[in-house]
């Protein structure tokens, strides 16, 4: 398992859990929104560990029938923007109202030499898809991403 070293022992962070063919992305935080943001940071980390400049901003809107499908939809929106804009994203912000989400993504065009991107995410799957609130009120959100 790979995790964000900076998040160790803190209230929010991400980790990547193993899957035979693909990889699992998990975020956690004090709020549902924070968990979604952290999972997106984990998705970025699955592609590159090099610095990304938050030079440009992209906005996405997602809706889904329930919270778990909304999480998959959020990651799929990030994947779509990466693919169609040839960008990598360094920062994310999310607001959620009911089963609707507005996301803001900050990043820059991918530079193969500088970013050394590894696997290319194809889509967020519903395998190991869980969004849950812990007894202490913190949230986690995870699923397997096909790469």
């Amino acid at each position: 398992m790979t995790a964000n070293p900076a998040s160790a022992g803190t209230a929010e962070g991400w980790d990547l859990f193993p899957h035979d063919a693909d990889l699992g992305v998990r975020g956690h935080g004090p709020t549902l929104e924070a968990a979604f943001v952290q999972a997106a940071l984990g998705l970025t980390a699955a592609i590159t560990d090099k610095p990304i400049e938050p030079a440009g901003e992209v906005t996405v809107i997602c809706t889904a029938p329930d919270r778990e499908l909304l999480f998959a939809e959020w990651l799929n929106a990030v994947i779509y923007e990466m693919a169609t804009r040839d960008m990598l994203f360094a920062r994310y912000a999310v607001t959620i109202e009911g089963n609707s989400l507005k996301g803001r993504l900050w990043g820059e065009p991918v530079d193969q030499a500088r970013h050394q991107p590894g696997c290319e995410p194809k889509g967020a799957t519903y395998t190991e898809l869980h969004v849950a609130e812990a007894p202490d009120g913190s949230w986690s959100a995870q699923c397997v991403v096909d790469v």
Partner: protein, 475 residues
């Protein structure tokens, strides 16, 4: 997995009788060591597939089966046209991902003499990795024509060879494609991705034929020891990924409306006869054509490079197979010929000798089944066996399968070190990303030799030839 969870039919066949909501048995083809090495999730996923409406025969898993999403990777399931379902998860995100191999007639000595320059030229000509683009950008009309025409469209545009078409499944063009069923978002995602390789386990390899197992079939396939083959593994790129993403979400909702109780949401499906099912079939077939066109274009790019080095070389297609598909095929079930919708998720069609759809030159010996290994080991060409029909709706394995997660591989190896080690062994790896190389380290993959040997002993396909890499272009 614990082999005692199965009924051992023979040394290579393991069966789970129906329990719970299973409508048919689950059958896994593997030897005991491969079964023991499989994740328990293969058992769960294979038995989940067996619960889907209209499934016929059994839920099968091939010797390279591993934990996928919904279906196991290496899963095969066939459905009745009237009572069955079509599953977006059962096809996967990379619709019609597959492999093509082209024989060159070049001797290994010819290639060794120019290997570094050839590797550089192929790396320059084959767009690989995140952010790479080819020379091709499609207009709206061109996109629809490509989605309807597949590899035949690519040939008509001058990005291919008409001789190839009979050696591509569906003769290079999947019938029933509906470009209108593909969303604008999916088309936008593909607009600049034609003629790109992608990343992950996709590759272009220059290989040497180093072992022949069946001289008669190898001769029919044009495989000669010491000669050079070019093999490409990739799929439908962003278009297929987006079709899979969108229909997965839609089918999760509509499955409930259709009264289908999904044991796993990733098995999202729709009745074949439903509006959603028909629309997905049209989009999925368009995605298949995208993959067929993409591999044809990449083959063309590779041919142009080879022609620069060897103007007299005749690079001809051995075959092009897809291993993430759902196809309408006729099969014998309990002595009766039936039309079925056959899902193969990480599994290769393996028609045996005499199959009517094969071209004249291949029909007597059976369909080539192209199996990718890792960049440091080898790949195989198999031939569909006469027994594959009765065993698995004429299906076989598709690759080695990962033994280790990408991040475990990243911790264990450096991409630069792998490049150096493989160069010492005569294998040149070219990639825009050293991270990508580390994730695809040969040690992160299972033993492809054991997988294909088991496929042969189980009666799915027969070994014809083994190739080892000389040059590998990775994303």
């Amino acid at each position: 997995m614990d082999p005692t969870r199965f009924t051992k039919v023979d040394a290579y066949t393991w069966r789970v009788e129906p329990f719970g909501d299973m409508r048919v048995p689950a059958v896994i083809y593997a030897d005991e060591a491969l079964i023991e090495g499989m994740d328990d999730k293969v058992f769960v996923q294979a038995t989940n597939v067996a619960t889907l409406p209209g499934i016929v025969g059994a839920s099968y898993a091939m010797p390279d089966a591993h934990w996928g999403y919904g279906f196991p990777i290496g899963g095969v399931a066939a459905f009745d046209p009237e009572t069955g379902v079509i599953s977006a998860g059962g096809v996967g995100f990379d619709i019609s991902c597959g492999v093509r191999s082209m024989v060159t007639g070049l001797n290994v000595a010819d290639v060794e003499a120019v290997k570094p320059a050839l590797a550089e030229a192929l790396f320059a000509a084959i767009p690989a990795g995140i952010g790479s683009r080819s020379e091709i950008t499609l207009s709206d009309d061109e996109m629809d024509a490509m989605l309807a025409g597949g590899a035949a469209w690519a040939v008509a545009q001058g990005w291919g060879d008409a001789r190839d078409l009979e050696r591509i499944e569906e003769d290079g063009c999947m019938a029933g494609a509906k470009p209108d069923a593909v969303s604008d978002k999916a088309k936008k995602r593909q607009r600049r991705e034609m003629g790109t390789l992608g990343s992950g386990n996709h590759y272009l390899e220059v290989q040497i034929v180093d072992t022949i197992y069946d001289e008669t079939v190898a001769a029919a396939y044009g495989l000669v020891p010491g000669e050079v083959v070019i093999t490409i593994h990739c799929g439908s790129r962003g278009l297929g990924h987006q079709i899979g993403t969108e229909f997965l979400k839609e089918m999760v909702v509509t499955a409930k409306d259709a009264g289908i109780d999904l044991p796993d949401r990733e098995l999202a499906c729709a009745p074949i006869r439903s509006e959603v099912g028909q629309r997905y079939l049209g989009a999925m077939r368009a995605g298949t054509n995208c993959a067929l066109a993409n591999r044809e274009i990449l083959g063309h790019f590779a041919r142009r490079v080879v022609a620069d080095f060897f103007p007299a070389a005749d690079v001809s297609l051995l075959f092009d197979v897809s291993h993430n598909t759902c196809k309408v095929e006729e099969h014998i079930v309990d002595g009766e010929r039936r039309t079925l919708y056959v899902h193969r998720k990480g599994a290769t069609r393996a028609f045996g000798p005499g199959a009517p759809s094969l071209p004249d030159a291949l029909r007597p010996v059976g369909q080539p089944v192209l199996i990718g290994g890792s960049m440091g080991t080898g790949s195989y060409v198999l031939a569909g066996a006469e027994t594959s029909e009765e065993k698995s709706f004429a299906s076989a394995c598709h690759g080695a399968g990962r033994a280790m997660s990408r991040h475990a591989a990243l911790k264990q190896w450096s991409g630069r070190q792998i490049q150096d080690d493989l160069r010492e062994r005569g294998i040149l790896i070219k990639s825009p990303s050293t991270r990508g190389i580390a994730e695809e380290a040969p040690g992160a993959y299972k033993d492809v030799d054991a997988v294909v040997e088991t496929a042969e002993k189980a009666g799915l396909a027969r070994r014809v030839a083994r190739m080892r890499p000389l040059i590998c272009i990775k994303g």
